[in-house]
């Protein structure tokens, strides 16, 4: 029996959600201990006896038994989930209640509630993402730290503070709550950040980044299964993630070097993800609000469905960037818009757009701003100017892969 990829991480999120239903969110630590115990037991038994035919069911059975033990031992000393208080009191109803908490539909709902709970307005966006990664995706503090390039202590503090806020809320967020709409916006935003952290982050660890994108997509799919959350904006977010993720395999070439969009081997794009993304984007939606997610997804679709750089509809992409600038202006969006302008109107116009970006100070430490200037200077034939810009970009590189790429570009400017 093979071990499916990420089995323990996936099961961690599911089991914690089920156990939280029994123990209450104020006893999240108890739920986590039970899961830890179940995993320890699985390791000891499986490593000698081999992985059972249904590892998830095995883990669930152990977690259920442990949960029963915990409730029996502590029911006089502790209060568990307030809504289950009566049921947990009696032996007659205890076992069925525990069974029910582990039913797949219930686990699904609890994970959703947990997702909404993690996006508590008292937490910063990054803390919300850290908390989701920890509770729903089974990332340890050190793994969260690696994902965000922060110290382990900082990640631990962020997670434990987040858990205090969860516990303070007494119960998980109710999807019927009046605040559902604003919380859903926050959930989408957090998932978007999680995805971007994986897609664009400075972390050199390729495996970590792909995992973050994978988790963002998984949680977004979970969100889409909730009828109230399956709104046009959520579909647009899902589309955006699929279309971007489709290009991930080609972003690093065979030699481990960064490969920019214009040079990517398009045969390495994931065709299935492109199809999935386009289908999400094409979903007929009533009362369509064109959100930033829609526009970003449409841009990603224009790239993902183009056979080559030349076959790309750059004019449509510029228009989409114009609209995106109107809805969600940012210097990074402006930078990408300038690159698209250069593609359809030539490097002079592109450079002009680059140099007139508002709020350009926010790009001061972003290596791809000087790199873009360098690229366009190179196309105009100003080799030495281009070279200088690539060197400034390389000085800002956030990891060895970026540095190698930018230094190579600078080197290429010298060749006639």
């Amino acid at each position: 029996m093979e071990l499916s990829e990420h089995l323990f991480r996936r099961e961690s999120g599911r089991l914690v959600a089920a156990l939280t239903r029994i123990f209450g969110v104020h006893n999240l630590a108890v739920a986590e201990d039970v899961v830890q115990d179940a995993f320890c037991r699985a390791l000891e038994v499986w490593k000698v006896r081999g992985v059972p035919a249904n590892p998830s069911a095995w883990l669930m059975a152990v977690a259920k038994n442990r949960a029963l033990d915990v409730v029996r031992k502590a029911r006089t000393a502790r209060t568990f989930a307030p809504e289950l208080a009566r049921v947990l009191e009696s032996e007659w109803t205890l076992a069925p209640a525990v069974d029910e908490a582990f039913a797949s539909a219930v686990i699904h709902d609890e994970q959703l509630k947990m997702m909404f709970s993690c996006c508590h307005p008292r937490l910063s966006e990054q803390a919300q993402v850290a908390l989701m990664l920890n509770i729903l995706c089974g990332f340890g503090a050190s793994e969260v730290a690696a994902a965000f390039l922060v110290g382990r202590a900082a990640a631990e503090k962020q997670i434990s503070r987040g858990k205090k806020v969860l516990a303070g809320a007494k119960r998980l967020f109710d999807l019927g709550d009046a605040e559902f709409g604003s919380r859903l916006t926050a959930v989408r935003r957090a998932l978007y950040l999680l995805f971007n952290e994986g897609y664009h982050s400075a972390s050199a660890e390729r495996a970590v980044r792909a995992e973050l994108c994978g988790e963002a997509i998984r949680l977004t799919m979970l969100l889409l299964e909730a009828p109230a959350a399956a709104q046009p904006e959520t579909y647009a977010l899902a589309a955006l993630m699929c279309l971007q993720a489709a290009r991930l395999p080609a972003r690093i070439d065979a030699a481990g070097d960064l490969s920019p969009l214009l040079e990517q081997d398009r045969s390495r794009w994931d065709g299935q993800l492109v199809e999935k993304g386009v289908a999400f984007l094409d979903r007929p939606a009533s009362g369509r609000v064109v959100s930033a997610y829609h526009l970003e997804a449409a841009i990603a679709a224009a790239h993902a469905t183009a056979r080559s750089v030349e076959a790309t509809d750059w004019r449509a992409i510029v228009q989409l960037y114009d609209r995106l600038m109107a809805v969600a202006p940012s210097p990074v969006v402006a930078l990408n818009r300038a690159i698209a302008i250069a593609q359809c109107e030539g490097p002079d116009r592109g450079l002009e757009a680059l140099l007139t970006i508002e709020d350009v100070g926010r790009l001061r430490s972003y290596p791809f701003y000087p790199a873009a200037i360098g690229e366009l200077e190179l196309r105009r034939g100003n080799r030495s100017a281009a070279r200088g810009h690539f060197f400034s970009a390389a000085a800002l590189a956030r990891n060895p892969v970026e540095r190698r790429f930018l230094e190579r570009r600078a080197g290429e400017c010298a060749n006639e």
Binding site: L3, H6, S12, F39, C40, E44, K47, G50, G140
Partner: protein, 117 residues
């Protein structure tokens, strides 16, 4: 070929530590599966053995039955496997790949006594 018993020993804290995060548990599990299947593929695996509970009873003298003296024991036997090897040197060599060694645990290699009659 001689049979050898591998006794896997580990302290409780090292055991918790080895568990770590779900991702590290997964890696640890993967390493065990690889190691045991390699032993098996080379024909050294006689019996996969069994894991053992961490608690039990110890019977001493006539009437003394106590809960396991496990607090005294630095490292507990967490399980065992029966292997076949040419000699103790080879049995030791084969045990070097055991993932428990990465987590501060140990493998005790004991020849099964040969019966001459």
């Amino acid at each position: 070929m001689t049979q050898f018993l591998y006794l896997y020993r580990m302290t409780d804290s090292a055991r918790q530590e080895a568990m770590g995060t779900p991702a590290s548990a997964q890696q640890s599990m993967q390493r065990w599966m690889t190691w045991l299947s390699e032993l098996d593929a080379k024909g050294h695996l006689k019996d996969r053995g069994q894991p053992l509970e961490r608690t039990g009873k110890v019977v001493r003298g006539k009437n003394a039955v106590t809960d396991g003296p496990y607090t005294e024991a630095k490292d507990l036997v967490g399980g065992f496997t029966l292997v076949e090897a040419r000699d103790i040197d080879q049995a030791v060599e084969l045990s070097r790949g055991c993932p428990i060694l990465d987590g501060g645990g140990s493998v005790e290699v004991r020849p099964v006594m040969k019966m001459d009659f």
